[in-house]
Amino acid sequence: MSVSLAYRFSPLLTSKTPAWRSRLLIAALMLGFSGLACRAAYVQVYNNDFFLHQGEVRFARTLELRASRGRILDRKGIILASSVPSWGIWASPDDVDGNPAKRQQLAQLLNMPLDELNQKLQDTKKSQVWLKRPVDEALAQAVQVAGLAGVYSRKEYRRHYPEGESVAHVVGVTNSDEDGLEGIEKAFDAQLSGQAGSRRVIKDRSGRVVEDVGERRPPQDGQDIELSIDSKVQFFAYQKLRDAVLENRAKGGSAVVLDARSGEVLALVNYPSYQPEQRDRLQHAAMRNRAVTDTFDPGSVMKPFTIGLALETGRVTPETVISTAPGSVVIGGTTLHDAHAHGDITVQQVIQFSSNVGTAKIAMRMPAQQMWETFSRAGFGQKPELNFPGVASGRLRAAKNWRPIEQATMSYGYGLPASLLQMARAYTVFANDGQLLAVTLTKNPPPAQGQPVFSAQTAAQLRHMLQLAAGPGGTGQKAQTEGYSVGGKSGTAYKQIGKGYGSDKDRLYRGWFIGMAPIDQPRIIVGVMIDEPSAGQHFGGDVAAPVFSAVVQQTLRMQGLAPDLSVKPRILAQASEESL
């Protein structure tokens, strides 16, 4: 039987404890708390800045907020270039596990034959090799989750060009850091690039951002650039140009489509072209925008400007008769020839038959200075005001240096090299009642302010002559197109070989055709140049005019313009009424 005792009678409480023990305990506690207080004062007051800084170093991070590069759009808002995130899987060959099972797992993840994977990983000289790029985010995460040694994923931004080679020369290309290298990418690099921002944050142990500290600098995304290009017209022009270059076994070719009322460039194509997304295969020659950067003797497409000046100054009328017999003329000891002898022909037939002799004879009636002024006002020898890299100015020598033979040959397009874009722009004079328009590659330009070159009457007379040149009996008959009236001038220029134009055996040619449609109220100007055709035909009327014809018809149709010529309907069956 147990005996219970009241608490106060416990023998433990009745034992005598020395007082120094409790005092020692209290002193120890006081000392401990004093130490803590001193430490707190040291941390919070005396050395507060240092500890704050150390805390920030461990938990605060500055994050860069990437600015997205602006898109390049066509006139209808269709994407021509855009930066999108993608992922790439890369490996450090030295660190990758050689275990066959692990390799097999990686090959399965990447959906790649094991042999191919092993081959890539054999290159131990490289510190990193790309295994697969681009890949989607899910695969990149799956590779991370698999935790294979030496295999990593990286997020990157890639520039995509969905239209591919047809628009490559206009849009251009960027390098791997997204800096513009060519084309619009280079010309508008500052607007497209934007500015990266930053934010200072505190991250927790698991890497999550838990607090913003300091000032946040938001990123400024690059601006979108809207071009005047119509991607459908661009594609169609590219396709027809490519077919013509291949069919004529030519070295290359270019085509330009301008809006005749605003000067906007609707299409600007070159062949050969390149795939802008395949950066490792880029070749400088193929990347050159020949239509803008290369200048050539334009040949007979120049004649309307010489005839225009003669009409404007009242020296001739369209009906004035010019004797071109016997198909040649001697000027300054040099004989100039026509392809065929035409005898006595009117001024408008000089354009229609493209007579060198007739044009030269008319030119010799005019002072060189007056011709220089007219050519200069039409933009020859001057750089077009176009924000695009490498725009060529061509060459137009001062009139005081012209010898008579040079004045004669310049009248039909030799000795004053110009780019295709310059030539097409110069033809805005005929389409706009004698006013030269500025060309632009961006949408919604300010209202076109033309620079007067000829009077409206002269321009109308020249349009009629251009219509004759593209009509029956003219040199550019193949430019005719179903449904729409056209006018234009063909040109066939010898290419310069060394200091001359070669001999009859080794002569090289450029075929041109520049014209407009519908001829009474032109909506578009189309210029085509085929370089070194070698399949038997070399006249501009044979190699370039068919491209003009196809491009004009499809462009006007896509613009919703009804034909201005009667067309024989070939709609075989009318749709019957649907029963409801």
């Binding site: 999108v84 591919g164 396709q239 179903e482 009804a562 067309v567 309907p569 709609i571």
Partner: protein
Amino acid sequence: MSRLNVLLAAIVMANALYLVRVQHHSRRVFVELDQALSESRRLALESQRLAVQVRALSRPLLVERRAIDQLHMHTPTPGITHYVRPGSSGVAP
């Protein structure tokens, strides 16, 4: 007096605990907001990527090739186009 001190000490303690709770809640909400913003950016980029992909799949070259090869279509010309002008029932070319 001592009761008042105890009360004040309790209030201080309660406030301190509430402050900790609010701070924790604030950080949790901030994390959620940050994640939502990240997701929003990711979706915007994904939308941009898909728009580029759609354009790449509908570019004229592919459409034309399919139209010609598989559907046996050909490029329209004015001769087979029926032009309709406003205010008229239709104008044959």
